[in-house]
């Protein structure tokens, strides 16, 4: 008798709160993905559509309102006649190929040597992590100070041994190599960390067995380590190439694309068209072209990479 109230409570249909939470629980799969979908639609899909639209339009902001004019393939013709586009393209390709090759070789050597340093591995990893986390703008500023004609570190050291230093980033022939040197400082660590992780995941028994059988260190590296490391290298080179196309910050700070067009890069030029000349349509067309170039590279590379690895 004294428990009758409890009974009636239990037999009642569940309240809206309970029903609501059970509904959420049953459809939790959807709720958890919704924020990501929102971001993908709002910040990726929509901007991509806008980019496609802009690349065939002239876009102006007049009194706070966006005015669109359809111009078809006009930007393509502009790009074909643009004197800077081929220069920027050539510089970008030279830059990408140079840094990817140099950084891969350098990182491979460093990683192999570090992996044999036993208790010092952690220390090296710590030091080489620093360039990857520092803001690229700070890297650009640091190297501006390093390259400074009068008071820079490099020219001061050269002066000590009696060599008059060049102007580095202001010299038309040295500007691109100077930029590449800064990029080596910044990004070799990235390749190093990946290759070191790859090396550490390799089974050590094979190396030992080969050494017992009388193989020299060079042979172990050439015939065992390198083939096993190939998949890691193939992926690392692809990622590094994709990232190298994005280069912007350091060049913006060190040379701004100059002197003349000696270090003009595609991404830098797109920014200039967008920001200084305020031609959003043309900038979007160039950005789209860059995106296509990178995508084509990735598709081809993966096909070749699969055969290599």
């Amino acid at each position: 008798m004294y428990q009758s109230t409890d009974f009636s409570l239990n037999s009642k249909p569940p309240g809206w709160k309970a029903r609501c939470s059970s509904f959420i629980d049953r459809t939790f799969k959807i709720w958890t993905i919704l924020p990501l979908l929102f971001v993908l639609i709002f910040l990726v899909a929509y901007p991509t559509v806008q980019l496609l639209r802009m690349s065939v339009s002239e876009v102006k902001i007049v009194q706070g309102k966006t005015v669109w004019t359809f111009v078809g393939l006009k930007h393509l013709y502009t790009a074909l006649e643009d004197q800077i586009v081929p220069v920027a393209l050539r510089n970008t390709i030279v830059f990408v190929i140079a840094v990817v090759i140099l950084e891969t070789i350098l990182a491979l050597v460093i990683a192999v040597l570090v992996s044999r340093s036993h208790h010092l591995v952690g220390l090296y990893r710590t030091v080489f992590l620093i360039p990857l986390l520092i803001p690229p703008v700070a890297i650009g500023t640091m190297w501006r100070l390093m390259y400074d004609y009068n008071y820079g570190f490099i020219n001061q050291v050269l002066a000590l041994i009696g060599i008059p230093g060049p102007t580095w980033t202001a010299d038309k022939n040295l500007a691109l190599p100077s930029i590449i040197l800064v990029d080596l400082w910044h990004w070799t660590s990235f390749m190093f960390l990946i290759i070191l992780a790859g090396l550490e995941s390799l089974p050590q028994e094979i190396n030992e067995a080969a050494r017992v059988d009388g193989a020299s260190e060079t042979q172990v590296f050439r015939f065992i380590t390198l083939p096993l490391l190939k998949p890691t290298l193939v992926t690392a080179v692809m990622l590094r190439t994709i990232f190298a196309f994005k280069v912007f910050d350091e060049i913006y700070l060190l040379t701004g694309g100059g002197p003349g067009t000696a270090t003009e890069m595609i991404s830098l030029y797109i920014y200039k068209v967008f920001s200084n000349q305020f031609r959003m349509g043309y900038a979007s067309f160039l950005a789209l072209a860059l995106a296509i170039i990178i995508s084509v590279f990735v598709i081809f590379y993966r096909r070749i990479g699969r055969r290599l690895a």
Binding site: I24, D25, F28, K29, T32, I33, P35, L36, V39, L40, L43, Y46, L51, M54, T66, V109, I110, L113, T126, L129, I130, P131, L132, L133, P135, P136, V137, A138, I139, T141, M142, W143, L145, M146, N150, Y151, F153, Q156, W185, F190, I194, T235, A236, M238, K246, F248, D249, L253, S267, Y271, F274, S275, M280, A283, S284, A287, L288, L290, A291, S295
Partner: protein
């Protein structure tokens, strides 16, 4: 035996040279930031350290650097919070529920696509969006750009951590009467705390480092970040070396702190994203 010692000497010498090459710009910048102008010009190694460059930089009446610092902190923390919530929910959903392979592939494909595309591709569209929403030149606009920049890595890291949790742990909590939400917040998230730390640290530092989005989505100190401030300072006063050095060393501090205290989380996150393919 003799050959072995020669190899070891070469190895240590080579690596030492690389370490010096890596550290010289940083120490040179630190040194310059602690010098008076006359010491910078004389180039001597012996000088009396001074904090005057930092004082000038951080004095609100002489520069807006403090304002930019608070913007940078706000943007990095905001991006980190938003990205962690979105990424941990999404990673939980993708790794724990049976999504159709097509859906899964599509979402993963888009994430890879964002990671590959150069940020300049997003400039004009984001500019228009921030104008339309009336958030141009505010920290919110920059956060928007930084979400694109950091989301892929965060999701990959968390997917990896979720994948390592055995299915039985969550099933047990559901059997015990917990809802999925309770199981996520009270069982799963505490287990993947290292993953959250890793994703959070990387998101923070990538947002702090960014230059391009902050440069193109802001024009005044209302939304500007430290990198933008440094770059305009460098362009305006290319001769004020001391303050230039102080500014860039100041901007490095979070990175140096992370290297010192959180590097194991960061290294794992950085190489994991790369070896994901």
């Amino acid at each position: 035996m003799k050959k072995k010692t020669f190899g070891a000497i070469f190895r240590h010498g080579f690596l030492l040279a690389i370490v010096i090459y890596t550290l010289i710009p940083i120490f040179f910048t630190l040194g310059t930031s602690l010098k008076l102008f006359r010491d910078i010009i004389s180039g001597s190694l012996l000088f009396k350290p001074t904090l005057i460059n930092y004082e000038r930089l951080l004095n609100p009446s002489q520069s807006n650097f403090l304002r930019l610092t608070s913007n940078s902190l706000l943007i990095a923390a905001g991006t980190m919070a938003v990205v962690l919530v979105i990424a941990s929910l999404a990673a939980y959903s993708l790794s724990r529920f049976n999504w159709h392979p097509l859906w899964n592939g599509l979402i993963q494909g888009i994430i890879l696509f964002i990671h590959m595309m150069p940020p300049v591709t997003f400039l004009s569209p984001l500019y228009l969006i921030s104008r339309a929403l009336n958030i141009y030149d505010t920290p919110i606009a920059v956060i928007m750009g930084h979400i694109i920049l950091t989301l892929p890595t965060a999701i990959w890291i968390l997917l990896d951590f979720f994948a390592e949790i055995p299915k039985e742990i969550e099933e047990a909590s559901i059997v015990d009467g917990a809802s999925h939400f309770q199981s996520l917040t009270q069982v799963m998230l505490p287990i993947i705390q290292p993953g959250l730390a890793s994703a959070g640290a990387l998101t923070f530092i990538f947002s702090w480092r960014d230059f391009l989005f902050a440069l193109s989505l802001t024009t005044t100190p209302r939304g500007m970040t430290i990198p933008v401030g440094i770059s305009s300072f460098v362009q305006e006063y290319s001769i004020r070396y001391g303050e230039m050095a102080a500014g860039s060393f100041f901007a490095m501090i979070p990175a140096l702190l992370m290297v010192a205290f959180a590097q194991r989380y960061i290294i794992k996150g950085m190489t994991m994203g790369a070896l994901k393919e």
